[in-house]
């Protein structure tokens, strides 16, 4: 008892003498802040410093005047955008089934969603190689059924990259959607139908708008993760489908051009931040309305 009272009174006294008091919880975040400062913020600043030798912008100038760099950056955004759209489109009905399909469905779908997390990223990308290569399962099957007579080029194409990335991103896209959807009251759909609306109209006018915050969260997550993909495009794409992360790695590992690699990394980071900001602005607009309508 006495110990407790003492414990409480000491920091109060110390704090009030300085006129400013740190909340006790502050000390709980010290380890993580230190860790991030040491292993994230410091290297990041170092990276920026490397990209600006003697304060010169030459590497950035090089990036924005060299067609191959611009193409890779453009391609990265294009692929990420396609991947995001496809991922969210597939995740949406999946999350819907999880949210409203009953307990048995939820269990099966959750397990199916989490199993890939137990398998490494590398292994999963390799399995796609096995499936999609010219003598892979998919081509063998299509040839055996006589649908095609020459193997389709599924791998080393943007198609292969997109399939592999969608597969890896799916769980990340499903979870935010599910969280929002399970809070949507299905009686609103009954109300919609008794108001004379078909299921489709009810979905478009009632369910989908209410699920939009989930769509946004899911898209942000998928898109920002997609921008940084490295292994999957390397295994499933051709050199033409190179994404910016591969190029950065190339500059560091093969060209040993640390300055250019650092500058590319900074560009990726800034562009990601801009994309994030744009999504965030849309979300904020949704939330502004959400505050009045009582949604999350």
């Amino acid at each position: 008892m006495t110990a407790t009272t003492n414990d409480r009174s000491v920091p109060v006294k110390a704090g009030s003498s300085r006129g400013f008091r740190l909340p006790p919880a502050f000390w709980l975040i010290v380890p993580s802040v230190l860790f991030l400062a040491l292993f994230f913020v410091f290297p990041l600043l170092k990276l920026v410093a490397i990209s600006l030798p003697d304060g010169s912008l030459e590497y950035y100038h090089q990036i924005f005047t060299t067609p191959v760099f611009l193409r890779v950056i453009g391609e990265t955004f294009r692929v990420s955008l396609i991947v995001t759209v496809v991922t969210v489109a597939i995740a949406y009905p999946y999350a819907y089934a999880m949210a409203h399909g009953g307990r048995a469905v939820l269990l099966v779908l959750t397990i199916a969603l989490l199993i890939p997390f137990w398998v490494s990223l590398l292994l999963r990308s390799f399995s796609w190689v096995v499936l999609l290569q010219n003598s892979g399962l998919v081509n063998d099957f299509l040839i055996a059924t006589g649908l095609i007579d020459r193997p389709l080029r599924l791998i080393r194409t943007p198609f292969g990259v997109i399939i592999g990335m969608v597969h890896i991103l799916l769980p990340y896209a499903v979870l935010p959607l599910y969280t929002v959807m399970k809070k949507i009251d299905l009686r609103l759909m009954e109300a919609s139908s008794i108001c004379g609306a078909s299921w489709l109209r009810g979905f478009a006018r009632v369910y989908f708008p209410l699920s939009l915050p989930g769509v946004m969260a899911s898209a942000i997550l998928a898109f920002t993760l997609a921008l940084g993909f490295y292994i999957t495009p390397a295994l499933l794409g051709s050199p033409r489908d190179m994404m910016i992360a591969q190029m950065i790695a190339g500059q560091f590992n093969e060209q040993l051009n640390f300055g250019l690699g650092a500058a590319l990394a900074v560009v990726l980071m800034v562009l990601t931040a801009i994309a994030f900001g744009l999504f965030g602005a849309v979300r904020a607009a949704l939330q502004m309305r959400g505050r009045r309508t009582g949604e999350a």
Binding site: D185, R187, L188, E190, A191, S192, S193, I194, C195, G196, A197, S198, R201, R205, V206, P209, L210, R289, R292, T293, G294, E295
Partner: protein, 369 residues
């Protein structure tokens, strides 16, 4: 034939014929039949689990009956989805669309019927005026109080002039003060627009206040349907007698006499004269239940024996201003409540004393079996 059938339909908004709904082994609805007349306010009343919600959802089309037939305006509703039934519904927690303004909410049933925006807004505003919320058109549901949300829900259910309006436990989400007010208001509004209404409640007072007719449900069965007055005066079962208003139920044995039929219990007897049509249903030697309404019993001095009288001990005497309330313990330990405005004669009686009870044959209900 065809003509006669058609004329019959003219006054009938909806008809249930032997409707049953099974959930596994549970009979949520058991052979329910009744007709809803155009323009009437019908309340389905019953305790929790008696099948009210199931009936309402079957009418709305959210569930299909296991057997039986439901028709609206003469049209068989088997296989017709909710959106094609032209029914308005106010849900228990209103189910307003949170992302739409009040005006958009009310306009939604018109939107689904392909009515253009300008016309839609005009009619929604008219409806909003009727429910007294014209100044709230641009608000969102979450920005309104429970009572206001309820009015919006009512407006949305009425705006497209549906054939039938369903109200699911309309007062359940309101606090007590607001209930009385909204009961009257909903009654006025639905009358004003000439709606045919089916409401659901477990609150007998609400049913009495609002309804033209009441359908009483028990264990999935329709016990009795009638005007509040009919149900009060002629309950056909102990359950109905007990559910509508206050009732004393006295159980006794039937005996035929020279003058008619008598039902006797310990310390009381009730007699019906020979000419009374109610005698036909009563068989000598069987049991019967006599329903006595508290305000129909007179307190008289003990020892006043007549054909319709009883005697017991006063257990409580409560003065309520305009009337006295007496609780009398009968010979078999059962209690009888009575209310009397004859304040002067009751004032002289004391708790613990014996008291005589008397009533007239016309004021009692005898339920055989």
């Amino acid at each position: 034939m065809m003509n006669a059938a058609h004329q019959n339909i003219a006054g009938t908004a909806m008809k249930l014929e032997g409707v049953s709904k099974l959930y596994c082994a549970v009979k949520a609805l058991d052979n329910v039949s009744f007709e809803l007349r155009k323009g009437e306010f019908l309340t389905m009343l019953g305790p929790s689990g008696s099948g009210k919600t199931t009936s309402l959802r079957a009418i709305a089309g959210f569930i299909q009956p296991t057997s039986g037939r439901l028709s609206i305006d003469g049209r068989d509703m088997t296989g017709v989805p909710p959106q094609k039934r032209n029914i308005g519904m106010m849900f228990q927690d209103y189910a307003l669309f949170p992302h739409m303004t009040v005006l958009e909410n009310i306009g939604y049933p018109l939107e689904t019927r392909g009515i253009k925006r300008a016309e839609r807004e005009k009619r929604s505003l008219e409806m909003l005026e009727i429910v007294g919320l014209a100044h709230c058109a641009k608000r969102y549901p979450k920005e309104m109080s429970g009572g206001q949300q309820q009015r919006v829900a009512l407006a949305r259910a009425l705006v497209f002039k549906p054939d039938i309006v369903l109200l699911d436990e309309p007062m359940a989400a309101l606090d007590k003060k607001l209930r009385g007010q909204m009961q009257i208001e909903i009654m006025h509004i639905t009358r004003q627009v000439g709606a045919t209404v089916v409401s659901v409640t477990h609150d007998q007072e609400e049913a009495l206040v609002m309804s033209d007719r009441i359908a009483i449900f028990k264990d999935g069965r329709l016990e009795q349907i009638g005007t509040p007055h009919e149900l009060y005066l002629q309950p056909r079962s102990e359950f109905v007698a007990d559910f509508i208003g206050e009732a004393n139920l006295l159980r006794g044995a039937v005996r035929a006499t020279d003058n008619g039929v008598t039902v006797e219990g310990e310390g009381w007897k009730a007699s019906l004269p020979k000419c009374d049509p109610r005698c036909a249903a009563l068989k000598s030697g069987q049991g019967a239940c006599v329903v006595l309404r508290p305000e129909r019993i007179h307190a008289v001095p003990a020892g006043t024996a007549t054909d319709n009288a009883g005697e017991g001990v006063i257990e409580d005497k409560i003065y309520l201003g305009v009337e006295y309330r007496l609780v009398v313990r009968m010979g078999d330990g059962g209690k009888v409540n009575l209310r009397s405005r004859d304040v002067a004669s009751i004032a002289a009686m004391q708790a613990g004393e014996r008291v005589g009870l008397s009533w007239s044959a016309e004021d009692i209900v005898v339920i055989g079996g």
